[in-house]
């Protein structure tokens, strides 16, 4: 009974936006769609929402094709924020609720409830243009959920938010999940994904490079991370690199971070340290971070890509085809 995206293909002229994208999302879960800009996340979301038709492939939710589903199945927060700037917050929200058939009184109640939750009840009768970008984003999130959709699809919901608002939005996500909603969002921010998502798909150049439960995706890397700290070795623990399949990836103030290849038991490192007579003050075995998973599969970090992209977009004026 899940959302199944199967073999989506879409091209815009010469540009292949989606090249056979498949993944599935279990109901009542939070799902992360990861990828650099231009990877195909937005196109994929628009096809799921049926505001864009694919050249091939299909989308089903609870075994029904998306084109046969009522519009109020979905709630959508587009990447490009946009509201009617000259309207009052309450009027804008009631307007969108009305399009989904929500009665005015109910919409008003819900709006007031959510404004309270986002700690901005005083914005009810303000014009949208008087609000900061971050607050407009909260209003837009409310617009996406007023009609109580089963599936919430959000394109970069955290971009441009300050840490306080990021936290408020995360809490809202969890609340929606607890109400039994299915949430899908795209992001470059791996930390957020680590905190919220149970499963993910990483998309690169219109293809899914890896998908599944976050835990499985990390394990499938076939390597682990060890954080080690010892007393009595001024040499910076250089000796560990003499071991097979072990490399130092980072030297921190009071510990070092090691990559341990598949086939090497991390405990070998602990044993070797003890044999050398060192006093081990920290020994920690961890899965690789999603950042590392991303780099492994895509070949470059997501965030750096984002920054480069933003810089380029700033020069060109943000005017490329949204893909």
């Amino acid at each position: 009974m899940s959302l199944v995206v199967d073999g989506l293909r879409k091209r815009f002229g010469q540009v292949v936006a989606l090249d056979g994208i498949s993944f599935s999302v279990e109901p009542g879960r939070i799902f992360g769609l990861l990828g650099a800009n231009g990877a195909g996340k937005t196109t994929c979301m628009r096809i799921v929402l049926d505001i864009l038709r694919p050249d091939g492939g299909s989308v089903t939710w609870q075994r029904k094709p998306n084109i046969a589903l009522p519009r109020d199945t979905w709630g959508y927060l587009p990447e490009e924020r946009g509201l009617y700037l000259r309207m009052k917050v309450i009027d804008v929200l009631r307007f969108f609720a009305a399009l989904y058939g929500v009665p005015d009184a109910q919409a008003t109640r819900e709006v007031e409830d959510w404004l309270e939750r986002f700690r901005v009840p005083e914005y009810r009768d303000r014009k949208v243009e008087e609000l900061s970008k971050g607050n407009q984003q909260k209003i837009q999130f409310i617009a996406a959920i007023l009609h109580d959709p089963d599936v919430l699809i959000m394109d970069e919901p955290f971009s441009g938010l300050d840490p306080v608002n990021v936290q408020l939005l995360k809490e809202a996500f969890l609340e929606m999940r607890d109400r039994g909603k299915t949430l899908i969002f795209s992001t470059h921010q791996m930390e957020t994904v680590e905190q919220l998502c149970e499963s993910i798909a990483i998309i690169d150049r219109g293809q899914v490079v890896v998908s599944g439960l976050v835990r499985d995706v990390k394990r499938a890397m076939g390597r682990q991370v060890v954080r080690l700290a010892t007393d009595g070795d001024d040499n910076g623990s250089a000796w560990v690199e003499t071991m097979d399949g072990v490399s130092i990836t980072a030297r921190r103030e009071d510990f070092i971070e090691l990559h341990v290849a598949a086939g090497t038991d991390p405990e070998e490192i602990l044993r070797a340290a003890l044999q050398r007579g060192e006093r081990v003050t920290r020994f920690e075995i961890a899965d690789p971070s999603l950042e590392e998973v991303f780099i492994q599969h895509v070949g470059r970090p997501a965030a750096a890509e984002e920054e480069r992209h933003l810089a380029a977009a700033g020069r060109a004026g943000a005017e490329e085809p949204a893909a």
Binding site: R53, G82, F95, F96, Y100, E319
Partner: protein
């Protein structure tokens, strides 16, 4: 296919309320209303100004030896001629002068419009000399001459021994009636002027509505696209609902503006009667809507609304292909051209309402709102022609909604690239 309503209604309502609340709308509507009031008052203003210029004529008759004051009989005669000729009713004013030389100077200064000097020839006949800057063919001169003749004839009759009261009876108007050959036939010239003016006004109203409110629709769509609210809209409602709501809401706002302006103009027309009476002592002639059948107005209303919706839908579709507001003017170009063709065809058609090309073009939905009023008011049109034109307009509307929805659903999500005709046609094929 989704139902148009109630979502089209929600969209229309928002569009209407947002539109009529803007300061631009209020200011422009107020300015147009003032202009409408002003235009409607032109006949009255003309009359007031014309009244100040009513001819004043001096009469010097000291040497004529007339029994009665000639000024009085001249004035009576002049004003009788004026009203019998169906003239503008402006009264002549005649007064006696004592000093011929001073009066002549007054004429040169423009104080008097003319000086009539009456004398008597040795054979007893009256002589008239008229000093004025009037040309020899001016209607005022002809009236003065005619009045002078009446005074002369009265004088001859008096000299022949006729009692002045009997002489007055001689000049009483005769009973003269016209019996038309066909009692129901209308004089083709009668009311042609007012009907021509009404047809012209309808054409101009249509043209302004299509161009102005069409532009509103296109700009409004482009605004939603550039402010990115479009992506939310298109998720919440279908392109057909959004389009229908957009043109209905904007159309209602446009109609509101028209209603205010027309109301102002009507108030101007109605108030004229009252003001005219106060100011001039006589009500001006009813200046408009003479000879216009209410059914014609109703038919015009239908074609006007249909034509507006047809143009507005396509304006909206083209507006959706603009990425920036600056591009709107450019992308709606084709519709502006079609509208102009209709306008000029209509202006030409006013003078040849029964020509074959007018009959043919009036069946084309894009041109029906322009040409049908002219045909209805000035030419002859069969009922089946009106019904056919109405049917074709309805079909064209359904077709336009279908085509526009497809262009729109393709256009609204494409940014930064001009839509080529090929892209649009490809988009039209994708069903949604």
């Amino acid at each position: 296919m989704t139902d148009l309503f109630p979502n089209a209604w929600h969209v229309a309502r928002r569009e209407y309320l947002q539109r009529v609340r803007t300061r631009t709308f209020v200011v422009i509507t107020a300015v147009l209303a003032v202009i409408g009031l002003g235009l409607a008052s032109i006949p009255l203003i003309g009359q007031v100004l014309g009244d100040e210029g009513a001819p004043t004529i001096g009469v010097y008759a000291a040497d004529a030896g007339l029994s009665a004051d000639p000024a009085q009989s001249l004035e009576q005669a002049l004003n009788a001629i004026g009203s019998a000729g169906g003239g503008d009713g402006s009264a002549f004013e005649v007064r006696s002068v004592e000093d011929a030389g001073a009066a002549a100077a007054d004429v040169r200064d423009g104080e008097l419009d003319g000086l009539l000097t009456i004398g008597r020839a040795p054979d007893g006949e009256l002589t008239f000399d008229y000093l004025s800057e009037e040309g020899p063919t001016s209607s005022a001169l002809l009236a003065v001459r005619s009045a002078a003749t009446q005074v002369a004839i009265g004088d001859r009759l008096a000299r022949a021994g006729l009692d002045p009261s009997q002489a007055g009876a001689l000049f009483a108007p005769v009973a003269f009636d016209l019996t038309p050959l066909d009692p129901n036939a209308q004089d083709p010239e009668e009311n042609f002027g007012p009907r021509y003016v009404v047809a012209l006004a309808m054409t101009i109203l249509t043209f302004m509505a299509v161009l102005t409110y069409g532009q509103w629709v296109a700009t409004s769509v482009a605004e939603e696209k550039s402010s990115r609210v479009m992506e939310l809209l298109i998720t919440a409602a279908s392109p057909r609902q959004l389009l229908a709501g957009k043109v209905l809401g904007t159309g209602a706002a446009g109609l509101t503006q028209y209603a205010v302006v027309v109301a102002a103009a009507l108030i101007g027309l109605l108030a004229q009667g009252l003001i005219g009476e106060r100011l001039l002592g006589s009500a001006p002639a009813d200046p408009a809507l003479q000879g216009v059948d209410p059914l014609v107005l109703l038919t015009f209303g239908f074609f006007f609304a249909g034509g507006f919706l047809l143009y507005a839908l396509l304006y909206a579709a083209l507006g959706s292909t603009a990425s920036r507001l600056e591009d709107v003017q450019q992308v709606v170009g084709p519709m502006v051209v079609v509208g102009m063709i209709g306008y000029f065809a209509s202006i030409a058609g006013l003078n040849a309402p029964d020509a074959d090309w007018v009959r043919l073009l009036s069946m084309v939905p894009f041109f029906t709102p322009y040409l049908m009023p002219a045909r209805l008011l000035l030419g002859s049109v069969e009922p089946w022609e009106v019904l056919l034109a109405a049917g074709l307009t309805a079909v064209a509307l359904a077709l336009a909604l279908w085509v526009a929805a497809r262009i729109y659903s393709a256009g609204v999500l494409l940014y930064g690239q001009r839509l080529s005709l090929r892209n649009v046609l490809r988009a039209v094929r994708v069903d949604r």
